[in-house]
């Protein structure tokens, strides 16, 4: 046997402070009416830092700072100068990428291989992409003189903390808005390091404000009278509540919510790549991915063989220390999320689906869940309908392309879908019919700043990325 020795990435590159304040008007400040909470490493349950919890007054301070910056500095600033600040931020992110990647893995639990090779390169690329738009807005297709909206309230999830921050902040700033961003309660640390990067870039005070906290802080932010724009990424339930909260207001809203994507494998698929795509589709980032390919729809004629290959491949997944460079599956982000995954998988087993995981030793401390597949799943099972947001794949079968489309679309969600086939005309036929904002054919979970991302139906509205991503932050 060829055993890989531990290959831990050094965490010495990260300089953690014992506690962090709120980042308002260019400075770290203590909360006025909030308390504090702890951010822990989900792989060890070790406390990483004490984090300020922003209360309503803190949110108000942040929104006022953003308003002032919008009116006095950022709004009037020439687009080419806004661009330069964004380019500067992109460069600093590249320069400090190791530090950011390690911190992301510490706080989130995701493997360093992913934070290093996926998250961080995409974060920098996103700032680069939107930096270039800042002085070209009249050419973006939204009229000759599109205007920013003002102050954007942005609430982001814990699955890609820094990447979601980039998806929110880069287009908002490029379009001329200022922002108040609330990172997820379990993963605030890279956002706070990003605040330091804003300082390092000499970004004018108040253009970016980071208010940490939990759901109540987020609610205070999106409901604040002073915000013109609300952007949220997270669960469909919270998205629904936000849509209700902004009803009747002037606030423009974009939502990027849940998903239950079908990954459809035909009998003529390039099978080895399809198996990689299935694995990447559901086990990337522990399945904490809104566009995860959580429903495998495999053509009956090859179902047995695909599953055999999939199981063989799953047995190779290396679960463990997120900072080990050879780890494929890291920690579940929180005890709460782990409980939800357990609840849904227990329901899957109780409802009669067959559960399988490769032999997989889970560390004693921290939050872990072995990569799991369910076979014998039907459309009626909860695990085929509810978003699990974990490393759990439900396997269903189909006989014809039309049946595949019908099953794939039979969900209130519509974020993404996958198609695996060597037949071009069938891929295009399927792509036309799948009600999903992103269709990956013979690939999966690919992202790019130029490529619009967002859902149909209850997966939300609006697009992030590309020219389309600007629309959310312009008065059009």
């Amino acid at each position: 046997m060829f055993e890989y020795a531990p290959a831990p990435e050094s965490r010495s590159v990260v300089d953690l402070k014992p506690s962090y304040g709120l980042f308002i008007d260019g400075r770290f400040v203590d909360p006025t009416d909030g308390g504090s909470f702890k951010s822990i490493n989900p792989a060890s349950e070790e406390v990483l830092a004490e984090i300020a919890e922003g209360g309503p007054q803190d949110v108000d301070r942040a929104v006022r700072a953003a308003r002032k910056a919008y009116e006095k500095v950022w709004g009037p600033m020439a687009g080419r100068d806004r661009a330069k600040y964004l380019f500067r931020i992109a460069r600093i992110i590249q320069e400090r990428s190791r530090e950011l990647a390690v911190l992301e893995s510490l706080d989130n639990g995701k493997p360093i291989r992913e934070s290093r090779d996926v998250d961080l390169p995409l974060v920098a690329a996103h700032f680069f992409y939107y930096a270039g738009w800042a002085d070209k807005l009249p050419h973006a297709g939204f009229g000759s003189n599109p205007q920013p909206l003002g102050v954007a309230a942005q609430v982001i999830p814990w699955n890609f903390p820094l990447l979601m921050l980039a998806w929110k902040i880069a287009p908002a700033l490029a379009a001329g808005n200022t922002v108040v961003l609330k990172p997820a309660e379990t993963t605030p640390l890279t956002a706070l390091l990003f605040a330091e990067i804003c300082q390092q870039a000499d970004l004018p005070a108040g253009v970016v404000n980071i208010v940490t906290g939990a759901g109540e802080t987020g609610r205070a932010l999106v409901e604040h009278e002073g915000v013109d724009k609300v952007a949220f990424t997270g669960s469909t339930d919270v998205g629904r509540a936000i849509a209700r909260a902004v009803a009747g207001s002037r606030k423009k809203l974009t939502l990027e919510l849940g998903g239950k994507a079908a990954n459809i494998v035909f009998d003529d698929a390039p099978v080895d790549q399809a198996v990689e795509g299935i694995v990447n589709g559901i086990f990337f980032n522990q399945g904490h991915v809104c566009c995860a390919g959580s429903r495998l729809l495999v053509q009956e004629s090859v179902a047995e063989q695909v599953l055999e290959s999939l199981k063989r491949r799953m047995a190779l997944l290396r679960l463990g220390d997120p900072l080990d460079k050879n780890t494929d599956i890291g920690a579940i982000n929180s005890a709460e999320q782990l409980a939800r995954i357990r609840e849904l998988t227990e329901a899957g087993a109780a409802e009669g689906a067959q559960q399988w995981s490769p032999p997989c030793e889970l560390p004693e401390r921290g939050f872990w869940f072995a990569p799991t597949i369910f076979t014998g799943v039907t459309q009626a099972h909860r695990i085929a309908r509810d978003e699990i947001f974990g490393p759990v794949l439900s396997v269903l079968t189909f006989r014809t392309p039309a049946e595949a489309v019908e099953k794939a679309n039979n969900t209130p969600y519509g974020l993404s879908a996958g198609i695996w086939s060597d037949k071009g005309s069938r891929i295009l036929w399927m792509a036309d019919r799948l009600r999903a904002g992103v269709v990956w054919a013979n690939t999966f979970n690919k992202f790019d700043p130029t490529s619009p991302f967002g859902g149909y139906k209850e997966s939300g509205y609006g697009r992030e990325g590309g020219r389309h991503g600007l629309e959310a932050y312009l008065n059009v």
Binding site: A125, G141, G143, T236, G239, R240, A241, A243, R244, A247, G248, L255, L257, P412, G414, I427, A431, R435, A436, G437, V438, V439, W440, A441, N442, T443, K446, D448, T450, S451, P452, F453, G454, Y456, K457, E458, S459, G460, Y461, R463, G466, H468, E471, V476
Partner: protein
């Protein structure tokens, strides 16, 4: 010599390409005519008709949809005097006709303007294209009776959506007459469904309906009602177009917003290799 007795018109709903009376059997009087007073069930039936029409209409070629919208303009032009007789100014009918022509031309151009290839950093073909969101519930503006109505229907359907329109309660005759134009324009049944009557009866049903994909609240003048409808729409995350101010200039260039707000962008990736 006795004067000829006129044949009066019955103003009914327009659902699924047919002209049914309200299932409730009720009507209300407008300009000396009895107009159907649509019920919640009529709204429900209209959604069913609109949903049934989505597949064919969204699946039609853009060229075909453009031709049909242009055909609507032709039919409307021919019925100019009929609208004038209802009190719609001739200029407004002309503007409404021109608006159909304008939108007709967008059917096969919007996907080029609003979508396109994305230069991703990798060996992938990557294309974003707009698609219709599905069934759209529309509250038509109170006025102008015809131009306002056309200005909310045409942008919704040109891209392949189907609509259930709550006509202006005060000016339903133009709406029903427009339905007659639509019914003779090769527009498939169910693509446009028009309900007359009280907004308070039909619109909350439409806003809450879980098989409706978007609501256009353009004609809602009561801010509280608008907010309530938006709350209802949130239940299944409908796309929402908010009301326009009362002084909205309907003769101005409409831009793309009314079309793009009712579209989904689908992005397709595929590797490039040998």
């Amino acid at each position: 010599m006795s004067e000829r007795v006129a044949v009066r018109k019955t103003y009914k709903l327009f659902v699924g390409g047919k002209f049914p009376r309200s299932e409730s059997g009720r009507s209300y009087l407008v300009q000396d005519s009895n107009v159907s007073l649509a019920s919640r069930k009529d709204a429900r039936d209209a959604v069913v008709a609109a949903r049934a029409a989505v597949k064919g209409w969204a699946g039609a070629t853009a060229y075909n949809r453009g031709q049909i919208l242009y055909r609507v303009a032709e039919m409307l032009e021919g019925r100019r005097e009929q609208f004038v007789a209802l009190g719609v100014p001739g200029d407004e009918v002309d503007a409404a006709t021109d608006r159909w022509v304008w939108y007709a031309g967008w059917s096969d151009k919007l996907p080029q303007v609003y979508g396109g290839a994305n230069p991703v950093a990798g060996p992938y073909f990557n294309l974003s294209a707009p698609e219709p969101t599905g069934v759209v519930a529309v509250v038509a503006p109170e006025a102008p009776a015809l131009l306002g109505l056309v200005s909310v229907i045409a942008p919704a359907i040109v891209t392949g959506n189907t609509v259930v329109v709550a006509a202006s309660p005060a000016a339903p005759l133009a709406a029903v007459t427009l339905a007659e134009v639509l019914a003779t324009s090769d527009l498939p049944g169910g693509v446009v469904n028009i309900l007359t009557g009280r907004l308070s009866e039909t619109v909350p049903t439409l806003a809450a309906h879980m098989d409706v994909n978007a609501v256009d609240l353009t004609g809602v003048t009561d801010p509280e009602l608008a907010a309530d409808l938006e709350v209802k729409a949130a239940e299944n995350l409908k796309r929402v177009l908010r009301p326009v101010p009362p002084d909205h200039d309907w003769s101005a260039d409409p831009g793309l917003r009314r079309m793009t707000a009712l579209l989904e962008t689908k992005t397709v990736w595929h590797p490039k290799g040998v």
